[in-house]
Amino acid sequence: MPSNLVIRLRQNFPFLTALALFCVVYFLYHLVHPRGFSSAVLVQNGDEVFTLAMVAMAQTVPVLMAGLDLSVGALMTMVDCFASYLLSGAAEGTPLSLHLGGLHLALGTLPGGLTGIALGIVICLAIGALAGLLNGIVVVYGRIQPIIATLATGAIYIGIALFLRPQPGGKIDDDLNWAMTNSLGEIASTVHIFDDGAAPWFASFAWIPTSFVLLALIALVVWVPFRRSVTGRTIYAIGSAEGAAYMSGLDINRAKLAAFTLGGFFAACGGLFLAIQTSSGNADIPQAGAYTLNSIASVVIGGTSLLGGAGGAIGSIFGALILRVISFFFRIFDIAPLLQPLFEGIILLAAVSIGALRVLRVKNTLELFR
């Protein structure tokens, strides 16, 4: 009878593998980096990985239910475009209006200053969650397979993004951009707390990149409680055996709606950060597609089974980190840029094929078909 700990280790083996792999490659990265183990490098890496990590978390939720969300990249892009209007931080406020053909609709004015920015962020996240909910509604009440439903809604979101930003543009408040894409110390000095970040006790935290803190916060405050709730457990149950979950009296529909809404929220966080980071909005269709595909890769590398029911969003964060760190290495080792896509592809293929080694251990061929 294996002990509780052994069972837990065995269950989390893919996640722990991803975690260990990340620790090793990231440690190596800092060792060989000329300015390794410095706050500047951490900040840069954090900024580059945040959006993908959020999109990967968004992708995890439907994958846990054995579905796939092809709209995460598009949803992220749409929120990115909304943010480029809502977070300009203009002192006199931002008038909101809708122009559709000859139709003009004034929707009121977003106040200027910090209130306006906070409100803008809330609106952006709400738009993302709403779009996620729409995905859920189509899947639950339309009874359309998630992969196809989100293929269609993804087109709609990209359409809205293009409508908002036919050309890249817009503006994000400079202070917001500076504070969010740097270390904690810069936030303190921007909003003038803790003696502008010079307080002695604060010094030992000041180097931590804001993006990492945000990631940890979202994971701990949003994902972990969700996973432990009945709704969260229902999602795992749906992924393992939907019929059994239904027969056990779990509210499947509510769990699915919640799951897609949460996915939309995560993707919106990613889009929001991308807008803040690039200080503009860009309805870039190839980029949206690349984010969707990379999110699937991150989820798999992070130890979540595409068959559903096993894994988690925290693993996907590490999956995204591993995927990005690999491309960081190219910069250091001066690998010809032309060969980089090839290496990325080979590593991805190798990573998923190693997971396939379980096939060799299966004694009953029937166990392969699931």
Binding site: I144, A149, L151, I160, L162, M247, V300, L306, P341
Partner: protein, 321 residues
């Protein structure tokens, strides 16, 4: 009489095809009304215009034919974009008489690799083909230096893609040939029965003695082959191969298959549906471009139509046990 009653009470597999066909007629009527109102002409009803649209649709149709085989065994091939591009690039860079065989061989090899990975390693096709797509992209970027190669398509490729025979585009004949082969496989060969069986329940097909692994490999190989063929033709049509030429074919081909009534979970669907799905998407695109619809509205309508069509006939069953 039986024909009429069959039309009124279509079977489960025919209903989507019928509704999609009606939708095509609706698109044609709406588009014609628009052009008549706006320009006083009816280009949508002229055979030449329709043939030209179908010629462009042939590339999508060929990709969708292969994609359907893979979807029928409840897998998916996401490597299509760069399989198509790689085939086009290799064909143009080899040139001469070997251009087309090399292009097709590239598609066949990539498809076989996909099939081996899915059938023997049991990696979910979603992620394995994604990896293969990334590798092909890497190989082509390394091969071409990240730019469009300056080699051009051979004369035969151009003739096949944009030439006409008896006033009908040659590409349509190629599409017709591919369609015939797929129909024969699905309707007349044991392989077709195996494909549907695997899509319904792979374990059952295995227990019934079907060599599920080789059927899976064959489906992926054929899907790669059609992507390669489409790449060769597309290179012929646009005179050369270029980066990202396959990007516009992945999602529309999946959409065409599904709109045509094929179950995305496999095991159900007729080829005629895929054909109708392709024509629907092509005509929708052409009407929207006649209306000078900006890309934004086009994407929204495109997504809306897919959802609408599936709401009408693509709904899954309620989970009750």
């Amino acid at each position: 009489m039986t024909a009429i009653s069959a039309l009124l009470t279509p079977s489960r597999d025919d209903r989507p095809i019928l509704i999609a066909a009606l939708f095509i007629v609706a698109i044609l009527i709406a588009g014609t009304a628009y052009t008549w109102e706006r320009f006083g002409s009816v280009p949508l009803l002229s055979p030449n215009y329709l043939l030209q649209q179908l010629q462009i649709g042939a590339f999508l149709g060929i990709v969708a034919a292969g994609m359907m085989l893979v979807i029928l065994i409840s897998q998916i091939d996401l490597s299509t974009p760069w399989t198509l591009t790689a085939a086009a690039m290799m064909a143009t860079s080899v040139g001469g008489a070997w251009a087309i065989p090399i292009g097709l061989a590239v598609g066949l090899i990539v498809g076989t690799v996909n099939g081996l990975g899915v059938a023997y390693l049991r990696v979910p096709s979603m992620i394995f083909t994604l990896g293969v797509n990334a590798v092909m992209r890497g190989l082509m970027v390394a091969h071409t230096g990240g730019y469009a190669p300056d080699t051009t398509a051979t004369g035969l490729m151009r003739t096949l893609a944009s030439g006409h025979t008896f006033g009908i585009p040659n590409a349509l004949f190629v599409w017709l040939a591919v369609s015939l082969i797929v129909v024969i496989i699905l309707q007349r060969m044991a392989l077709g029965r195996y494909i549907y069986a695997i899509g319904n329940k792979e374990a059952a097909a295995y227990l019934a003695g079907v060599n599920t692994r080789s059927v899976t490999v064959i489906c992926f190989a054929l899907c790669g082959l059609t992507a390669g063929l489409a790449g060769v033709l597309l290179a012929g049509y646009s005179q050369k191969a270029y980066q990202g030429m396959g990007d516009a074919y992945l999602l529309p081909s999946i959409a065409a298959v599904v709109i045509g009534g094929t179950n995305i979970l496999g095991g159900r669907g007729r080829y005629l549906g895929t054909l109708v799905g392709v024509i629907l998407i092509v005509l929708l695109n052409s009407v929207l471009s006649i209306m000078e619809m900006p890309e934004a509205g086009r994407q929204v309508i495109y997504g809306g139509v897919i959802i609408l069509m599936l709401l009408v006939y693509g709904r899954g069953e309620r989970v009750t046990s």
